[in-house]
C-alpha cells in the first residue's frame, strides 16, 4: 500500500518511466504514422524525458515541489518533436499541481495528474483526438474518479494504466489514418509506457526488456503493397487466394525457422518479421470481416496511402526579404494563411521565409510589398516518405517519363548491369541477331518517355540507330558507343533529371575516356600484320585490332591488358563471358590486381557469347 508521494519517490518513479520508455523506444518509433510518418516519436519522447530525469537527479533540493518544477522546466528545454513538446507540457502541468507541496496523498496526486493532462491540451493549437492527448486526458479522468474513494496510490495507478491502455487500443477508431495503417497512436503508446514504468517499479518487475521482433509499420505496409500489386496484376482474384498466399508464406517461413540451428534462431529477425506481418495482415482481413477481393483491395490501398499521402501543399517555397522594420511574426502569420509549415526567421532587415503552399506566386507578391525579395527557391516537393523509399519500387505505377534509354546488349549479365545504370529497355541478347532499324524503332515508340537516348554499344549498329532516330517523331539522340564498356562509361554521366541535350553532351564526352579490348577464339586461320593465327587460337583485340595471341584466354587477357594500360589510367574492368569459367575469371582478377597494385580492378559477369572477356581500361 502506497499512501503518499514525496520528492524521493517522484525521482524513483520518473526514473523508472524513463528506463522503461527507453527500452520501448523502437516499439514506439515503429508505430509512428501521424502527423508525419517519420518514425521518431519514441526517440523524441525518450530523449525529452531523459533530459528531465537527468536534471532532476542533479538537483540538491529534494522536496517534491522543487523536483517537479525542475522536471517541467528542463523537459521544455529539451523537448523534441511534436510528441516531446506535448509530454513536456504535461510535466509542466503536473509540476503546477504539486507546487508548494512536500508530500501528497492519492487525491492530490490524481489532481496534479489531471492538471498535467489539461496543460498538454492547452499547449497544442489544434488538439487532435486519438493521440497522446486523449490517452492522457481519459486516464487522468479515471485517476480522479478512483481517488475519490481509494487511497492506495499503487491501486489507482494500476487502474489508470489499465484505462490508458484501453483508450490507446481505441485510438485507431478516433484517428482514421491509424486504422488504415493498422497501428495505435505512437505518442499514446509512449504515454502508456511512462505509466507502466512506474507500475513495474512498484511491482518489482525489470525495467528493461529485450524487445521481441516487432512487426514494423513499414514492413506491414509493404505486405499490403505486394497484395495490392497481386490484385492489380490479376494474380490474386479472390479473397481465398489472398488467404492461401498468406498461409503459404507463413508456413514456408515457419518451416525455414524450424530448420535453423539454435544459435542462428536468435538473429532470424527477417524471417520472423515475415511471419509477423503476414499474420497481422491476415488477422486484419479476418477481424474486419472483409468479404471479397474488392474490400481487401481498398483496405490494402488505404494502408499504402497512409505512407504515400497526397501532400496538401505542393510547393516548398523559400526566399529572403531585405527591408526595413520587418515584423517577423506578422510575416509568419500572413504566410500561414497560404499554407502550412510557415517559418520566418531573421532580423528586422532580413527575413528568411519558408512555407509549404500551393500559391507560391501570391506569397512572393506579398513579400515584394515588404522589401526586396531575393533567393527565391520553389521546390515541387517529392511525396516520398524517406523511410520507405528503398522498398517502394514494387507498386509504383508506370508514368510517362521525360527521358528514357534504349541500349543494345549481348549478354544477360551485361543487360543487368546496363539496367541498374538507368537503361529502360534492352535490345538484343546472346542468341539474338543484331537489332534492325525496325527493332530499334519499335523500342523507341514503345517506351513511355517523350525523349529517348539510344546506346548502340556496337560500331555496326550505329547506322541503324541513326536511321531509327530519323524515322521517329519523338526526340531521339544517338550516343555513338562502339562497345558495351563505352556505353557503360556514358551511363556514368547520365542524369535522368537533366535534359536530353545536356545528357547527349556529357554522355558523348564520356566515350573518349575509355579503352575497350576483347579476348576471343579465332574462327579461322588468319594473318594479321606479323601475327599468324591458327584456327582455335585465342586472340586479344584492342580497338578491333589483333594485338596478342596465345592458347589460354587468361594469359591472353593479361597480355592484352599490358598493351592497353597507360599512364593516368585508374580502373581495369573485366566482364567474363559464357565461354569463361567463374573460377578462372576470379584467378585472372587476382593476377591483374597483383600486377597493377595501384589500379582499381573489378570483375563482373557479362554472359556475352563469342568473347571470353571484354576488358576496359580507363
Amino acid at each position: 500500500m502506497i499512501k503518499h508521494c514525496n520528492g524521493r519517490r517522484l525521482i524513483k518513479a520518473l526514473s523508472a518511466s524513463n528506463d522503461w520508455l527507453a527500452s520501448k523506444m523502437e516499439v514506439v518509433n515503429n508505430l509512428n504514422v501521424f502527423p508525419v510518418p517519420d518514425g521518431d516519436t519514441g526517440f523524441n519522447m525518450s530523449l525529452t524525458l531523459k533530459a528531465a530525469v537527468e536534471a532532476m537527479k542533479e538537483l540538491k533540493d529534494r522536496d517534491l515541489s522543487s523536483i517537479a518544477k525542475e522536471v517541467g522546466t528542463s523537459s521544455v528545454m529539451a523537448s523534441r518533436g511534436c510528441s516531446g513538446v506535448i509530454l513536456s507540457q504535461f510535466l509542466v502541468g503536473l509540476a503546477k499541481g504539486l507546487e508548494g507541496k512536500k508530500r501528497v496523498e492519492a487525491k492530490e496526486l490524481a489532481q496534479a495528474f489531471f492538471k498535467g493532462a489539461e496543460a498538454a491540451y492547452g499547449g497544442v493549437r489544434e488538439p487532435v483526438e486519438g493521440t497522446m492527448l486523449t490517452v492522457a486526458k481519459e486516464s487522468a479522468r479515471r485517476a480522479l474518479e478512483i481517488a475519490k474513494e481509494e487511497s492506495d496510490i499503487a491501486k489507482i495507478l494500476r487502474e489508470t494504466h489499465k484505462e490508458a491502455q484501453e483508450v490507446l487500443e481505441k485510438t485507431p477508431e478516433m484517428l482514421p489514418v491509424l486504422k488504415d495503417a493498422g497501428v495505435v497512436d505512437a505518442g499514446g503508446a509512449g504515454f502508456v509506457y511512462i505509466l507502466e514504468g512506474v507500475l513495474r517499479l512498484i511491482e518489482g518487475k525489470p525495467l528493461e526488456e529485450i524487445s521481441k521482433v516487432e512487426v514494423t509499420v513499414a514492413k506491414t505496409i509493404n505486405t499490403w503493397r505486394s497484395i495490392l500489386v497481386g490484385i492489380r496484376g490479376g494474380e490474386l482474384k479472390d479473397i481465398k487466394e489472398v488467404e492461401t498466399i498468406a498461409a503459404k508464406t507463413i508456413q514456408a517461413a515457419k518451416e525455414k525457422l524450424s530448420r535453423l540451428p539454435l544459435q542462428k534462431l536468435k538473429n532470424a529477425t527477417g524471417i520472423r518479421r515475415v511471419v509477423g506481418t503476414w499474420e497481422k495482415v491476415l488477422g486484419i482481413i479476418q477481424k474486419r470481416g472483409l468479404l471479397d477481393i474488392k474490400a481487401v483491395r481498398s483496405t490494402a490501398q488505404r494502408a499504402v496511402d497512409t505512407w504515400e499521402r497526397e501532400l496538401k501543399y505542393k510547393y516548398c517555397t523559400e526566399f529572403l526579404i531585405k527591408g526595413k522594420d520587418l515584423v517577423l511574426k506578422e510575416i509568419e502569420n500572413e504566410l500561414a494563411r497560404h499554407g502550412d509549415c510557415a517559418i520566418v526567421v531573421g532580423s528586422s532587415e532580413l527575413a528568411k521565409c519558408h512555407i509549404h503552399t500551393n500559391e507560391p506566386d501570391k506569397v512572393k507578391a506579398y513579400a515584394a510589398t515588404l522589401g526586396e525579395v531575393d533567393k527565391v527557391k520553389i521546390d515541387d516537393m517529392d511525396k516520398q516518405h524517406q523511410t520507405l523509399l528503398m522498398e517502394k519500387e514494387v507498386g509504383e505505377a508506370v508514368k510517362v517519363k521525360e527521358l528514357g534509354i534504349v541500349a543494345v546488349s549481348t549478354g544477360e549479365g551485361l543487360s543487368k548491369i546496363l539496367k541498374s545504370m538507368g537503361v529502360d529497355e534492352i535490345l538484343g541478347g546472346p542468341k539474338k541477331l543484331k537489332p534492325s532499324v525496325e527493332d530499334i524503332s519499335k523500342a523507341i515508340e514503345k517506351m513511355e518517355a517523350k525523349n529517348v537516348i539510344l546506346l548502340p554499344n556496337d560500331g555496326d549498329i550505329i547506322p541503324a540507330a541513326e536511321k531509327a532516330k530519323e524515322l521517329s517523331k519523338k526526340r531521339v539522340e544517338v550516343i555513338p558507343a562502339k562497345s558495351i564498356p563505352q556505353g557503360l562509361a556514358a551511363l556514368m554521366d547520365y542524369n535522368p533529371e537533366g535534359s536530353i541535350e545536356e545528357n547527349k553532351e556529357s554522355m558523348s564526352q564520356a566515350l573518349g575516356r575509355i579503352k575497350t579490348g576483347q579476348v576471343a577464339k579465332a574462327a579461322r586461320i588468319a594473318k594479321y600484320k606479323e601475327l599468324k593465327i591458327r584456327k582455335g587460337e585465342v586472340i586479344g583485340l584492342y580497338h578491333k585490332e589483333i594485338k596478342v595471341k596465345g592458347r589460354k584466354p587468361q594469359r591472353v587477357a593479361l597480355d592484352l591488358i599490358k598493351e592497353m594500360v597507360a599512364e593516368g589510367d585508374s580502373i581495369v574492368t573485366l566482364y567474363y563471358g559464357k565461354g569463361a569459367r567463374k573460377r578462372k575469371a576470379n584467378k585472372l582478377l587476382n593476377q591483374v590486381k597483383e600486377k597493377y597494385p595501384n589500379l582499381e580492378v573489378q570483375l563482373y559477369f557479362g554472359g556475352q557469347p563469342h568473347y571470353y572477356y571484354i576488358i576496359s581500361v580507363e
Binding site: L47, V345, Q386, E600
Partner: protein, 283 residues
Amino acid sequence: MTKIGIVTGSVAGIPSPLIKEYGIRVIPFPIILGREALRDGMDIQPKEFLEKVKKSKEFPKTAALPIGELAEAYEAFMKEGKAVLSMHMSSGLSIATHDSAQKAKEMVSEVEVEIFDTEQIIGGIQLVILEAARAIRKGKSKEEVLKVARKARENTNLLRALPDLEYLYRGGRIGKAKVLMGSLMKVIPIIAAKNVITPVGKGRSPTQANEKMVGTIKSDMESRGAKGIKCIIEHADNEEAAGELKRMVEERFHPEEITLRETGCCGIVHTGPQSWGIAYLIK
C-alpha cells in the same frame, strides 16, 4: 560599437585551434547510436566514432541542437558584452537546426541575436564562418560582417564522394540524389550540397571521383570568373582519396588556403565512413 560573438553547431567540424583562435562557441549535436546518446566532439571523436559505427548493427542518427545550450551560449556572449551571430547549417537540409536557434533566441529575448543561414553543410559552414570571424576581428560593424558572410555563402560550394549512400538515405536527406542509388557496378556517387542535395555524377574509382570533382570546380570557377579559391578537404577515414584530391586541387588551382582534415562525427552520420570531399570558396 557592439562586439560580436559567433555561435554554431558542431556539424561544421571546425578544428579546435580555430575555435579557440576566434572564440567561437560550438554547440555539440547529440548523436544517437543504438541506445547511446553522445555529444559530438565532447563524448566522442571521429576515429572512435567510426570504430563504433563499424561495430554497431544500427545506423547512427543525429538529434536537433539542444535549445537550452544554444540559449546559454547566447547569454554567455551577452555577459561579455557581445551581440550574437548564430551561424548554422543549411535550413534547406535541416530546418530543425534553424528552429532550435529561433526558439533559443526567443528564450533569451534580451540578447541581440542574428540567426544566419549559411546554406552549407560541414566544411562549407566552416568556410563561411571563418570569413565572418575574420571580418569581426577586423572590427567591422554587424552589417558589414553580415555582408561578408552573405557573399561568402553565395560563393561557397561543397562536393562530396559517398561510397555508401545508405547514410545519406537514412538521414532522410537524399532528395534528388536517389537517382544515384542501386547500381550493380561499384560506383562512387558524388553529390553537391547547398540548400539541397543534387547529384553531380559518379566515379568508378577514387581517382575518377576526384577528377569529376575537380572538373566541377573548374567549370564553376570559370562561370564565376574566379580569381582564386580557398578550400577545405575533409574525409571520414579515407586520407588516401582526400590526399589525392588535395594534390590535384593544389596543382590545378593553386588555392590561397587549403587544409586537409577529418570530418566531424555529425558529418559522418550523414555521409558515412570512407566518404570524402571538398568545400571551396570562390574569390
